[in-house]
Amino acid sequence: MAEQEYRRLTRSRVRRKGFLGFFTIVASTRSSLWLAKDHVLSIDSRRYTEEYKRFYFRDIQAITIRQTKRRAIWNFALMLLLVFWLGMLVSMVSGFESDSATIALLCTWFLILAVPLLANNILGPTCAVYLRTAVQIEELPSLNRVRRAHKALARIRPLISAAQGQLAPEEVSVRIREMNQSSDASAMAGASQNARSESAPTVEDAPSRIVVEPQ
């Protein structure tokens, strides 16, 4: 069987697992997205192994983009370091020990901090993207910028529409109302079932073991 052809949807990016996840560079998992003719493939790469998750276009229920504060946090941290470094640079230039080698080193460090700060702002707001199917809600870490997520969504949307059909905006509200009504009805049915089971035997009521009396 010939292998399926995949087209790259996003480049691989680190899958963060909590605060410490960022620092585990060696053992980090990199996640990327690829497009096939009938599904999106998510690859979690751990250097020497790859794990695959396939999301078929016909099964995708929703895609959620949530704007995060990561860009602001990075901006704050990098600005703080830059101000510190700038202060040192100014004191070196105007002050007592204006050694050219030290100034060059500080300038280099200044640039090392300034470039990520610039890139962080050029790339735009950060986000977290979630893909939902009937059985799971999966985060897609490779879509970590709003602009990038919009681009990816623009590529996926027509493929999902081709597999599932279009959903008109007014149809969404009608379907949601229907869904709410059916969930209310099932909740009521569940409540009545629960009320009926009030008289059902409990775990505590059950005998601890069955004892067979000798005849």
Binding site: M1, E3, Q4, Y6, R8, D38, L41, I43, R47, Y48, T49, E50, E51, Y52, R54, R58, D59, I60, Q61, A62, I63, T64, I65, R66, Q67, A128, Y130, R132, T133, A134, V135, Q136, I137, V146, L153, R157, I160, S161, Q164, G165, Q166, L167, P169, V172, R175, I176, E178, M179, N180, S183, S186, G190, Q193, N194, S197, A200, P201, T202, V203, E204
Partner: protein
């Protein structure tokens, strides 16, 4: 007080969660119509986080309950291989055995019996079920390159170079990454490993020559 029915309801509630309307990933508030399928990011009604939620028809699709298989009524009617009393509905595309509606596992338009599905997954025969691969080409390349890159470990190449060469030859035909179809890593690993082995060979030769000379 734990009742038998409460245990059942808990699992039901867990299942219902995924079949409900999309909710905010941050605060869990159910998202109302104004937020869904909007062209830009809209504030969540619960936590005011900016969200854009695109819903598709699959969200509203009701999944049909799985068939339990019809019982064989007429003598001589083909029955399921696994359930002799159930009527066969089709043949497994893996092994050709007749299966009932209960045993029919559909996968991208193909129909398999549970045994073939399990075997196909274990042996990697059904590509769409394959969920993990080991990248032997990356291992071989690392073995060939890393001791040179981390310069203080260059003497490890006496062990790592033959290992890299062995891995490149042994796993040449093993499936690599699902999205990368090139063997360039194997080739580079073999070139580097061969050069390292040759270097060690020449070095040892000259060492012996000097000792004798």
């Amino acid at each position: 007080m734990a009742t038998f029915s409460v245990l059942g309801l808990n699992s039901l509630a867990g299942r219902r969660q995924i079949h409900s309307l999309p909710s905010c990933p941050k605060c869990g508030a159910p998202l109302v119509e104004g937020v869904l399928n909007q062209p830009s990011l809209e504030p969540c009604p619960g936590c005011q986080s900016l969200l854009q939620v695109e819903v598709f028809p699959a969200l509203f699709r009701r999944t049909a309950p799985a068939g339990s298989g019809e019982i064989v009524l007429v003598d001589g009617e083909s029955s399921c291989f696994y359930h002799a009393s159930k009527k066969a509905v089709l043949a497994c595309q893996g092994c050709g055995r007749f299966v009932c509606a209960l045993c029919d596992c559909e996968l991208n338009g193909e129909h398999f019996c549970p045994a073939c599905l399990e075997t196909g997954k274990a042996k990697g025969k059904i590509k769409s079920l394959e969920n993990r691969r080991t990248l032997y080409d990356s291992i071989a390349l690392s073995l060939a390159i890393l001791p040179l890159v981390i310069f203080i470990f260059w003497f490890f190449t006496i062990v790592t170079a033959p290992m890299a060469l062995f891995m490149a030859i042994r796993y040449w035909n093993a499936p690599g990454s699902i999205v990368r179809h090139t063997r360039i890593r194997y080739v580079v690993a073999m070139i580097f490993a061969t050069l390292q082995i040759a270097g060690w060979g020449i070095g040892i030769y000259f060492l012996i020559e000097n000792l004798h000379g």
